[in-house]
């Protein structure tokens, strides 16, 4: 292979691997990334740009890659779009494809956009797709949708598994380059719990491509090996390679995404594909390094134009040569090191164009000594080559502009404007950044969280100072976390300094910037002239420039582009960079999968599915379930051939005529106990409780302090100091929280305590004229006769041999009982009751029938008849208010004038004049349907059902001044025309309540 060095690097030449890119087969080695393997195969063209569909090549060797986005995966269910080829580890059989091109990478029809690029300036979309409005739906939106977006979302469900785990450590080191490793060593030796994470497969950062430097007398690679061995051997250290710290959240809480199996390919493993670590660290050491900054010059985006350090990495770490003949364009010493090492690897270095007027120092001397043509005050003014660079124009700057260009042939153009410290996480931690004029970089200022930055991410670039900085940071973190601080260590390093020079913005480029395109944001196709245009059009805030031009808004979030964009705004506005400001860094640092965020919360683990102990019986007996908060409740029990309507009619009829059985276990239950229990109940509920005798039940209404109904339920007084309180299914947690709130914060003097018993009791409602007959033979020690156990009473005893609190209560209007038994016995008792009821045709019914039966009686359901703006009087519950009570929660609010206005919405019944029409719940009620739209809406339907008992439809509604309208006719406008309704009392069945006693 022409582009693969015969030896060297960290690839394993004994493990060849084959892979496919855009359908063509290539080979690489274990240890390659997809990018390095492609480069070793001479492939640079890997994608098309977002807007102009320009051919693009591999530009970097890491997370900052803006161009080389690929889709990876052979199966649709494991396909991942938009992966950076520079971070995709090669495995045997890998299948990848380029994106954003049709029909093929080398022939892409949308490339025509590029020809019309002068019609697609910054803000093009804002300016163009304005009118006519009708064109949006049919023309603009489909067109933009087709053209927009990177990659292709897979349309099969993700076949992989993801997990999330919380981690805790004393010191978290983010980044395992030299500074991070030194910090980790210092912290580890101090005995504290250390986590070290690094986004690459191997730890070492820049040391992985280091050839020349030595540390403590060893080659850098050997020191690295020894250091990792030491860290691995310590039980207080957790090493997390392939793990990106993507987000910083308050109080030293960091999100880390570990890619566990991607590098294994589709191997069978029980491991999750990705593991999201949510780490709480006492102290954090940020050692996130720095990112290379491109030069901004005309035509700087062709395949074959690459960051200088990246090229060095490809040669040194992967043994892959990105070209044979290179021109270098730079503003700092780093590119000289790259040029020298690439030259020794066999690449011809034609010239180094250096923006600086007088580059000097050891690296420049070495380059000259090696025979490299070094040209100060020189810029690249243009490039050539359709799918790969073939020539560059180079010109001297004089008087602030570029002169006549000289053209060089080349297949590689290396660029390096300097290093931009990776301050993303520091910025996310809300630390303020400070601009360093000398380094032309934003650096971390004062910390807000318990954190310190070390090494490249705070502008300390040289190996020796970086190691020392890291070690000191590790010691200080360990100390702050309470460790026994380890001995100081002085690193003895041989490495040539790279200096601190750099360039930000666009250097002069012949021909004027308006005609030529110099790319700033490669991924979003933003050029220097786009940014200049934005400032000319009046955008001065960098946040506005960002949004108008979209610079920095691509998936790389401007890692390579933000500083240059700032520099250009600064140049155009003639303001110092520090005055232009900086856009906000937000998580995630690199794109993170939805799978990692979802973690295990998928399928049956998405939410707890709460089931009662009777659930399985219902399932076995054909119940259709509905979700009520997290509970599954039996909705109805269809028999073969029945739809919901038929089933509900049958269930209603059976309950009214004989006996039905219903699982009410999901009702919230609270045991209120203590000598002040009645006083507490008096304060929490509208009702009066003092005189309720033990053994009796009462329907209670609870308000919020604003006077509106919050919850309701039947309450049993078990003894003078003990109440068995029930709440709605959805309201259990809320009610208990509100009660505890008042008890703990307002009435802590009361001797009363609360215990949730929701799940202690299974509740089996047995309702209907034969209910007593069914239960009578099953109970022990309880007389359930009418005389001994009247409506709204409770007795304790046993049923079927297990303890029960037996309620005589009805939510159907029929003779009814609610059998409370300990939850674990629920199914057994249920089945015993069913067996005993067989001779009466006992019929299980679901929540739908429950709703119909209670609506026939005009019983409200909180959350259906109420919506948080309804008072007791609004729904006819004024009788439940203890008139003599001085105070209860919500009482004062009921005295506000608005609460007693006569035009408040009040609960009424509605009967359609045509009895066959069942109204829609939520439908609006109007007085005059001939009014033009929008009509005056005076109420809405809250409940509406077919009543089997009445053989007609019924509805409940909240209507303004509703009680005064009883007897009149209103209208419910529907798409098919208005439905005329008669306003009636909100009780349809057995208004005298005779049936309650069977």
């Amino acid at each position: 292979m022409r582009y693969r060095l015969p030896a060297g690097g960290r690839i394993d030449r004994d493990k060849p691997m084959s892979f496919h890119f855009d359908g063509k087969k290539y080979s690489g080695f274990a240890g390659d990334t997809l990018a390095s393997a492609l480069i070793a195969n001479g492939v640079h063209l890997v994608g098309r740009s977002f807007k102009y569909h320009r051919p693009r090549g591999i530009m970097s060797a890491g997370a900052d890659e803006p161009n080389a986005l690929v889709g990876v995966g052979n199966e649709e269910s494991r396909y991942t779009p938009n992966l950076r080829a520079t971070q995709v580890e090669l495995y045997d059989g890998l299948v990848a494809e380029s994106q954003n091109r049709w029909p093929s990478l080398s022939l892409d029809f949308s490339g025509a956009n590029d020809l019309f690029s002068r019609f697609l300036p910054a803000g093009f979309y804002y300016k163009t797709f304005m009118w006519p409005a009708s064109a949006w739906k049919k023309l603009y939106e489909p067109m933009i949708r087709r053209a927009a977006g990177l990659g292709r979302a897979p349309d099969a469900a993700d076949a992989d598994r993801y997990t999330q785990v919380y981690g805790h450590c004393d010191v978290l080191v983010v980044g395992a380059g030299p500074a991070g490793l030194a910090a980790a060593l210092a912290a580890a030796r101090s005995g504290v719990r250390v986590f070290v994470c690094d986004e690459q497969d191997q730890m070492g950062g820049s040391l992985l491509s280091e050839r020349e430097a030595t540390i403590d007398g060893q080659a850098a690679a050997d020191w690295l090996e020894q250091t990792i061995q030491e860290l691995k051997s310590r039980t207080n250290v957790v090493l997390l390679p392939r793990t990106t710290a993507f987000g910083w959240y308050p109080h030293n809480f960091l999100g880390l995404c570990e890619r566990v199996t991607d590098h294994l390919g589709p191997a069978i493993t029980k491991q999750p594909r990705e593991r999201m670590w949510q780490v709480r660290a006492r102290e954090v050491v940020l050692a996130t390094g720095a990112i290379e900054r491109p030069m901004v010059f005309p035509g700087n985006d062709r395949p074959g134009i690459m960051m200088a350090e990246a090229a060095r990495t490809y040669a040194n770490r992967y043994g892959a040569l990105p070209g044979t003949r290179a021109v270098v364009f730079t503003a700092c010493d780093g590119a000289y090191r790259a040029a020298l090492e690439l030259k020794s690897a066999g690449i011809e270095i034609t010239a180094i164009a250096d923006v600086r007027s007088n580059p000097n120092g050891r690296w420049i001397e070495r380059a000259r000594a090696a025979g490299i043509d070094v040209r100060p005050s020189t810029v690249v003014t243009g490039t050539y080559g359709r799918l790969h660079i073939s020539h560059v124009d180079v010109a001297r700057i004089s008087g602030g502009s570029a002169g006549h260009p000289e053209t060089f042939a080349c297949d590689l153009l290396l660029m390096l404007a300097g290093f931009t410290p990776s301050v993303h996480l520091f910025s996310q931690s809300r630390g303020k950044l400070v601009y360093d004029e000398d380094l032309k970089a934003y650096l971390p200022g004062e910390s807000v969280e318990r954190e310190r930055s070390v090494g490249g991410c705070r502008g300390v670039f040289d190996l020796s100072t970086s190691l020392a900085d890291g070690f000191a940071g590790g010691l200080s973190a360990a100390k702050a976390a309470g460790g026994t601080v380890a001995a100081e260590h002085k690193f003895s390093v041989f490495a040539q300094s790279l200096g601190r020079d750099g360039f930000v913005g666009a250097p002069p480029s012949g021909g004027g910037s308006r005609r030529t395109r110099a790319w700033v944001d490669f991924q979003n196709d933003v050029t220097a002239k786009d940014i200049e245009l934005a400032t000319r059009e009046g955008f001065r805030s960098i946040e506005h420039v960002k949004r108008y031009t979209t610079t920095g808004m691509a998936t790389d979030q401007g890692k390579t582009s933000n500083m240059n964009a700032l520099g250009i705004v600064s140049q155009t506005l003639a303001l110092p960079v520090s005055k232009v400001g900086l856009t906000t860094f937000r998580p995630p640092y690199t794109p993170t999968t939805f799978g990692a965020f979802a973690g295990q919360s998928r399928g049956e683990l998405f939410d707890p599915v709460r089931k009662t102990s009777i659930h399985e019986w219902a399932r076995e007996n054909g119940a259709v379930f509905e979700d009520v908060s997290l509970w599954k409740r039996a909705h109805y029990f269809p028999r073969p051939g029945e739809d919901i309507h038929a089933a509900v009619r049958r269930e209603c009829k059976a309950t009214r005529e004989s006996v039905g059985i219903f699982d009410a276990s999901t009702l919230g239950k609270i045991e209120v106990v203590g000598k002040d229990a009645a006083e507490f109940m008096n304060r929490m509920y509208t009702n009066a409780w003092t005189k309720l005798e033990p053994g009796r039940l009462r329907y209670g209404v609870m308000l919020r302090e604003d006077g509106f109904i919050m919850d309701d339920g039947v309450v049993g007084r078990m003894s003078p100091d003990r109440f068995h309180v029930t709440t709605t299914t959805g309201g259990a947690t809320r009610v208990l929280a509100l009660m505890e709130d008042y008890l703990q914060t307002e009435w802590s003097d009361l001797d009363v305590w609360l215990t949730s018993t929701t799940e202690q009791w299974a509740v089996i409602a047995v309702q209907g004229p034969n209910a007593r007959k069914v239960l009578e033979p099953l109970v022990q020690g309880i007389d359930i006769s009418q005389q001994a156990m009247p409506h709204m009473s409770v007795q304790e005893g046993r049923i079927c041999g297990v303890p029960t609190r037996l309620f005589r209560v009805s939510f159907t209007g029929e003779l009814g009982f609610e059998v409370n038994v300990p939850m674990g016995y629920g199914r057994g008792v249920w089945e015993a009751i069913c067996a005993a009821g067989r001779e009466f045709g006992i019929t299980p019914y679901g929540t739908e029938t429950m709703h119909v039966l209670r609506a026939e009686k005009g019983y409200i359901i909180v959350g259906q008849e109420t919506d948080g703006t309804v008072t007791p009087d609004d729904v006819g519950l004024a009788w439940a208010i203890g008139k003599t009570k001085k105070d209860f929660v919500g009482k004062r609010s009921l005295a506000r004038p608005a609460m007693s206005r006569s035009d408040r919405k009040q609960l009424v019944g509605l009967l359609t004049v045509d009895p066959k029409i069942v109204l829609e719940e939520g439908a609006q009620v109007v007085a005059d349907p001939s009014e033009p739209v929008p009509m005056t809406m005076i109420g809405h339907v809250t409940s509406s059902y077919w009543s089997a008992a009445l053989d007609r439809s019924i509805a409940l509604a909240l209507v303004q001044g509703g009680r005064a309208r009883i007897g009149s006719r209103l209208s419910v406008p529907m798409p098919s025309g208005p439905v005329t309704v008669e306003v009636v009392q909100p009780i349809f069945y057995d208004p005298e309540g005779k049936r309650l006693d069977g």
Partner: protein, 198 residues
């Protein structure tokens, strides 16, 4: 009537049946127990301890035990009393009688929750799939208990041995908790690639 035929059904019975049980984080259903919640002010706390036969811890987040009985501190005025193998009605009546002169609250919650155990060197790691607490021995020593959460479920977590934790979970949440832990420990079914991050 068929009094004796009603048996208590454990909410974990079905879900625990088919679980593979990697020894590095094995799960087991714990036996049914009588469970009472005691709440009250100081004078009654001593009386409750005497009646129960186990000290009610005054230190936050600790449990004490004597034989098959445990008293878990849940809050400054709240303890969970657990007696394995005892009839809850009997325990309740016996204690209620001895607390009759005190103003306090005793409530039978024996059927509210079921309990499970996780055992093995990877217990902490598996529990941290959903439990946000630091479960290292330094932060969560043997003898500690607390209400906390696991994923989307409230739980009571206690550490009985270095590598053993007990979870007390409301019945309707317990299958979810079991399945979540079962999913988290799946990686230990695959010993070759399993790793010990902590």
């Amino acid at each position: 009537m068929a009094e004796a035929t009603i048996v208590r059904v454990n909410s974990l019975a079905a879900v625990s049946r088919d679980s593979a049980n990697p020894p590095r984080a094995s799960l087991a259903v714990l036996p049914d127990a009588a469970k009472l919640v005691f709440r009250g002010r100081p004078p009654s706390v001593g009386a409750a301890a005497e009646a129960f036969g186990v000290e009610l811890p005054q230190t936050a987040n600790r449990f004490s035990e004597a034989g098959p009985r445990k008293a878990y501190w849940l809050g400054p005025d709240e303890w969970l009393l657990e007696a394995i193998g005892q009839d809850s009605s009997e325990l309740f009546s016996a204690m209620a009688e001895r607390l009759a002169s005190h103003s306090c609250s005793l409530v039978d919650v024996s059927h509210r929750s079921d309990s499970m155990e996780i055992r093995g060197p990877m217990s902490e790691y598996v529990l941290n799939h959903g439990c946000p607490l630091d479960l290292s021995e330094r932060a969560f020593p043997i003898g500690m208990c607390t209400r906390t959460i696991l994923g989307k479920s409230p739980i009571i977590l206690s550490r009985t041995e270095r590598e053993v934790f007990h979870l007390d979970v409301w019945r309707s949440f317990s299958p979810y908790v079991w399945l979540l832990l079962d999913d988290a420990r799946r990686e230990f079914l695959d010993d070759e690639s399993a790793r010990s991050p902590t």
